[in-house]
C-alpha cells in the first residue's frame, strides 16, 4: 500500500463518481423543476444500458452507435414516464406522497417489464477494443483507458451542463422555475416545455452514465438501476436538492469516498461497503439538514 495504490484507487473513485454524478444531475434536475423524486430514474439508466447492450450484441452495432442508442433509449423512456405517469398524476392528484408512490410504481413496473422480457440474470456488457488498453505511466501507475474515457466524457458533459444552466436563457429559466414556478410563468416561461427538456437532459445523461457503468463494471441486468439509482439519489440530496453543480460534486464525493473507504478497509470488513454512503448521508444531514450546498428551491 502506498502512494501508488492511493492514486490507483483515486482514479477508480473518480470513474465511479462520474457515473454517480451524471445520475445525480438527473434526479436533482427533475426535483428542482417538478418538486418530485423520480424514483424511476434508475430504471431509465437501466433501459439505456440495455439499449446499448442489445444494439452491440444483437445488432452488431459499433460502440458509438450503442452509446447513441443508450442516450436515445433513456430519453425515450424518460419522456414516456413523464407522459404516462407524472403528467397525469400531477394534473389529477398532485399531492407529494401520491406522486412519490406513483413514481415508485413506475420504477417497479419498468424493472419488472425488463425482468419479464430478459430475465433477471446478469449479462456481460462488451467493452470496445479501443477502450480496453492500459496505460502504464513512468511512475508505475496503471491507468485503464476506459476510466480515462469515462472521466473525459463526464467532464465535458458536466462543464456543458453547468454552462448551459448558468448562462443560457433556457437554463436560467429552469433554475427560475425550480424556485418559483408561478413567477416564471409570469415572465412568459412555458413550464411544460422546460419540464420535457429537464427529462430529456436528465435521461440523456443517465444513458451516458449507463454506458460508463457497462464498460466499468461489465454487467447489465434489470435490477441494476435500483442500487445505483439509490446512490445517485443520495448524491442529489447530499448536494442540496435542485442544485446541479452540487449534485455532481456530491456524486464524486460519494464515488471517491466509497472506493477509498473500501480500498483502505481491512478485507474482513468489506461487506460494510454499502453502509459508507448511508453513514455519509446521515452525518451530513445531521450537520446540515438541507445538504452540502444551497438547494435550488425556495426556502420558506
Amino acid at each position: 500500500m502506498g502512494v501508488l495504490y492511493f492514486f490507483q484507487q483515486l482514479i477508480n473513485g473518480l470513474s465511479y463518481g462520474s457515473i454517480l454524478a451524471l445520475l445525480a444531475i438527473g434526479y436533482t434536475m427533475i426535483y428542482g423543476i417538478l418538486g418530485l423524486i423520480n424514483f424511476a430514474h434508475g430504471e431509465i439508466f437501466m433501459i439505456g444500458a440495455f439499449c446499448s447492450y442489445l444494439l452491440i450484441m444483437n445488432a452488431a452495432a459499433s460502440f458509438w452507435t450503442g452509446l447513441i442508442g443508450a442516450i436515445g433509449g433513456a430519453v425515450l423512456a424518460g419522456l414516456l414516464i413523464e407522459k404516462l405517469v407524472y403528467g397525469p398524476c400531477l394534473k389529477k392528484s398532485p399531492e407529494v406522497l401520491t406522486v412519490f408512490i406513483a413514481s415508485f410504481g413506475a420504477s417497479l413496473g419498468l424493472r419488472n417489464i425488463f425482468v419479464m422480457i430478459f430475465g433477471d440474470g446478469r449479462r456481460a456488457f462488451p467493452t470496445p477494443e479501443f477502450l480496453e488498453g492500459i496505460i502504464v505511466t513512468k511512475s508505475g501507475l496503471f491507468l485503464n483507458v476506459k476510466d480515462l474515457w469515462i472521466l473525459a466524457i463526464t467532464g465535458i458533459l458536466l462543464i456543458s451542463v453547468t454552462l448551459f444552466i448558468k448562462y443560457t436563457k433556457v437554463g436560467t429559466a429552469m433554475r427560475a422555475i425550480a424556485y418559483d414556478p408561478n413567477a416564471a410563468m409570469l415572465v412568459g416561461v412555458n413550464s411544460a416545455t422546460l419540464v420535457l427538456l429537464a427529462f430529456i437532459i436528465g435521461s440523456g445523461l443517465a444513458g451516458i452514465s449507463a454506458v460508463s457503468y457497462g464498460i466499468s463494471f461489465g454487467i447489465v441486468n434489470p435490477s441494476m438501476g435500483y442500487i445505483i439509482g439509490l446512490n445517485g439519489f443520495i448524491a442529489a440530496v447530499l448536494g442540496g436538492i435542485g442544485n446541479i453543480p452540487g449534485a455532481a460534486i456530491a456524486g464524486y464525493i460519494i464515488g471517491l469516498g466509497e472506493v477509498l473507504f473500501v480500498a483502505f478497509l481491512p478485507p474482513a470488513w468489506s461487506a460494510i461497503r454499502p453502509l459508507f454512503v448511508w453513514a455519509l448521508l446521515f452525518l451530513i444531514l445531521f450537520i446540515k439538514p438541507s445538504g452540502l450546498f444551497r438547494p435550488n428551491i425556495k426556502i420558506e
Partner: protein, 235 residues
C-alpha cells in the same frame, strides 16, 4: 385597453369575485383599492391567467384573453409584478432581469431594455451580481417591477408594491412608477395604501368583498366621505 366584463371567479367552491366590471384605458393609471381579502389579487390572477375565470370575459385590446395561460399573456404586452414580489431568490439581480426579458428575441432590444431598467433603478445596477434573496425589501420590489417592465409592456399590473416597505422607500418606488407611466405604459395598480393609490392614479375602483363598491376619478374619490372615513382615516 383592458376590460373585465362580469367576472365571476373563485378558488374551488369558494366564489371570491362576484360580477366584477372594470376597465383600463390606454395610457391611464387605474387603481384598485380595498381591504384585505377583498379579491384584488384574485382579480390580477384572473387577468394573468393564473386563475381560471368561472364566468365572464377579459378583453385586452379587443382580444379575448380570458382563458389564456400566463405564458401566452406576456407576449401580448402585459407585464406583472405580483403580490409578494416573487423574485427568483436563487438567481442574481441581473439574471432576474434576464428572465424578465425571456421573450425578447432581438438582442438589441434586450440590451436596450436592460439599460433602461438599470437607469430607472440604479440600485439594481449596483447589485446586479448579487443573489436576489439577499436584497432588501425595497430593492426586491424594484427588481420585481424592473423584471416586469423588461418587455416594455403596454399594460403593467402592479400588485401591492408598497407592501411591507418603509415610507421613504415607498415614495421612491412610486416615483419610478410615475416615470414608467409617463413612458407610455398603462397601469393597473392594486394597493392597500389608498392615499398613495389615489394620488398617482387618474381613476380608481374600490373593491369590497369581491364586488366593486365605488368607482370614479381619483380626485373625487379622495374627497368622497365614505372613502375618507373608511380608508383615509379622516373623520
Amino acid at each position: 385597453m383592458l376590460k373585465l366584463n362580469h367576472i365571476i371567479a373563485g378558488y374551488g367552491k369558494a366564489e371570491v369575485l362576484h360580477d366584477i366590471n372594470l376597465e383600463v384605458k390606454e395610457g391611464e393609471v387605474v387603481a384598485l383599492v380595498g381591504p384585505n381579502g377583498a379579491g384584488k389579487t384574485t382579480t390580477i390572477r384572473c387577468i394573468t391567467g393564473e386563475l381560471s375565470v368561472t364566468k365572464g370575459t377579459i378583453l385586452y385590446k379587443g382580444k379575448d384573453i380570458t382563458s389564456l395561460p400566463p405564458y401566452k399573456i406576456v407576449p401580448l404586452g402585459i407585464g406583472c409584478s405580483p403580490e409578494g414580489r416573487n423574485i427568483f431568490g436563487n438567481l442574481s439581480v441581473y439574471e432576474n432581469l434576464k428572465m424578465g426579458g425571456y421573450l425578447l428575441k432581438e438582442k438589441a432590444l434586450y440590451q436596450e431594455q436592460l439599460e433602461w431598467v438599470y437607469q430607472l433603478f440604479p440600485k439594481l445596477w449596483d447589485r446586479r451580481d448579487q443573489l436576489a434573496e439577499s436584497l432588501s425589501g425595497g430593492e426586491q420590489q424594484m427588481l420585481a417591477i424592473g423584471r416586469a417592465v423588461m418587455t416594455r409592456p403596454q399594460l403593467l399590473l402592479l400588485d401591492e408594491p408598497s407592501l411591507g416597505l418603509a415610507p421613504v422607500v415607498v415614495d421612491q418606488i412610486y416615483e419610478k412608477i410615475e416615470e414608467i407611466s409617463q413612458q407610455g405604459s398603462s397601469i393597473l395598480l392594486v394597493e392597500q395604501n389608498v392615499r398613495l393609490a389615489l394620488e398617482i392614479s387618474s381613476r380608481a375602483y374600490v373593491m369590497e368583498s369581491g364586488q366593486i363598491h365605488l368607482s370614479g376619478d381619483s380626485a373625487s374619490l379622495a374627497k368622497d366621505s365614505y372613502v375618507e372615513e373608511t380608508y383615509l382615516g379622516v373623520r
